[in-house]
Symmetry: C2
Subunit: 255 residues, 2 copies
């Protein structure tokens, strides 16, 4: 690719099984999986495994492995934690692996991992760091893949994509695509992130189970520099670790 060719900044508002990702993907499930994943890294977790399902997550449980996830918004039976970023940030997980099993975020992460060179988990919480890293890694395209919910677009994820796109545009020259312009329009319509997040179906679902206090946490912009980056796989799970520039080129310690 010619160095003078602008990179593409692409936003896909829903995972579509046929789509391929040639370069960098920022996976967004802001309420709550990708926010919670960054919060577990902030709390000191050494790795996040994104599991393909609840049963697969249970099979990982071990003395140095905790499992976190949700089923209808709540902590599944036998799990150590739910999918709450507030709970994740306070969890005693230093040096531990956290296996996460959620619904929409898991599907989007696996779709991205099937083809992309680099997969990052992004949210408002780590928006600056994730945008910067995506811009640094990309040679051709930054794609922001929104998880949505049950095959429907999410206002929360689309807004977050707009925030990320705005940051990325500040750092480089990008061709914008239709989904990107829609996400940017959504971002510009709501100056306060708490408004679109609170209006989203995802927030309304949390209200029904009494977890609405997670929404203001998910609405904080750029509070954390922790960006989960895909490093490999174990079985059907995706292994994410905190991006650390000095580790580039070093052998992975994963057995």
């Amino acid at each position: 690719m010619n160095a003078s060719t602008p990179k593409r900044l692409r936003v896909d508002l829903l995972p579509q099984p046929g789509l391929a990702y040639p370069d960098v993907v920022l996976v967004v499930d802001v309420i709550r999986a990708t926010t919670t994943a960054a919060a577990f890294l902030e709390a000191g977790a050494s790795a996040i495994y994104v599991s393909a399902g609840l049963e697969q997550a249970r099979a990982f449980k071990d003395h140095d492995v905790v499992i976190a996830g949700e089923e209808g918004g709540l902590t599944p039976a036998g799990f150590d934690y739910g999918n709450s970023p507030r709970e994740a940030l306070e969890a005693p997980v230093t040096g531990k692996t956290v296996v996460m099993a959620t619904t929409n975020g898991t599907r989007a992460a696996h779709l991205a991992a099937a083809t992309a060179k680099h997969v990052l988990l992004a949210s408002l919480y780590n928006a600056h760091a994730a945008a910067r890293l995506a811009n640094d890694l990309a040679t051709e395209e930054v794609a922001i893949l929104c998880a949505g919910a049950g095959g429907r677009v999410g206002l929360d994820d689309t807004y977050t994509a707009g925030v990320l796109a705005e940051f990325i545009q500040l750092m480089g020259s990008y061709d914008l695509q239709d989904g990107t312009l829609i996400a940017l329009a959504t971002r510009r319509t709501y100056p306060d992130p708490l408004e679109p997040l609170s209006l989203s179906l995802a927030a309304k679902s949390l209200q029904r189970v009494g977890l609405e206090a997670d929404v203001p946490f998910c609405a904080r912009i750029a509070a954390s520099p922790a960006v989960p980056v895909l490093e490999g796989r174990v079985g059907e799970a995706l292994i994410f670790r905190r991006y650390q520039p000095q580790r580039a080129g070093a052998a992975s310690s994963e057995g």
Copy 2:
């Protein structure tokens, strides 16, 4: 359904195979299929058949049937017309059936027709009339289904959905969903409809084949009262006719 319950105003930014539509659907492929369909009715066509494909369309050709469609933006071999609304409005089709075969609009129309009670073809060109009719027909939900292009959302279709949603909200009390708020945000970001339509991938594709003069036609808001409404099927084709309130309850003249 309780008469005091607000209806839902839903926007789906992409056709998703699993989604069901319980009530009214406005199918939007503004550049160009749903604009062109209304233009053919304006020109006097008695019916629009939305065909499942090019070959199926060719099989309909007859002395009182013309076929229109596109392949890579251009008129397919053996077709009478392309998919240009400018050409459609001038076409000598009074009393004739027009069989249309396009890609994205066809797929969305067939998805809607699989479950919905009422399917209307909507565009900016017939936006007022289509919004009014959708509001009149709906008892439970108005869904606006955007065709998109190749599994990606379209800025043009999303903007048009926002214009339709704005009109529908003026006429009744509706619960808005995430997709609706995204479409409304997109609509409010661009006061001039020509701007989002011109920025869309669909418009750029027309430029490549020299048909960019269709874009300003597609950007005219509420220039026509002609709304194609699904009345039945013939084989794999969907039969749309101009909505005429006085025909309600009358026997169809279709053989």
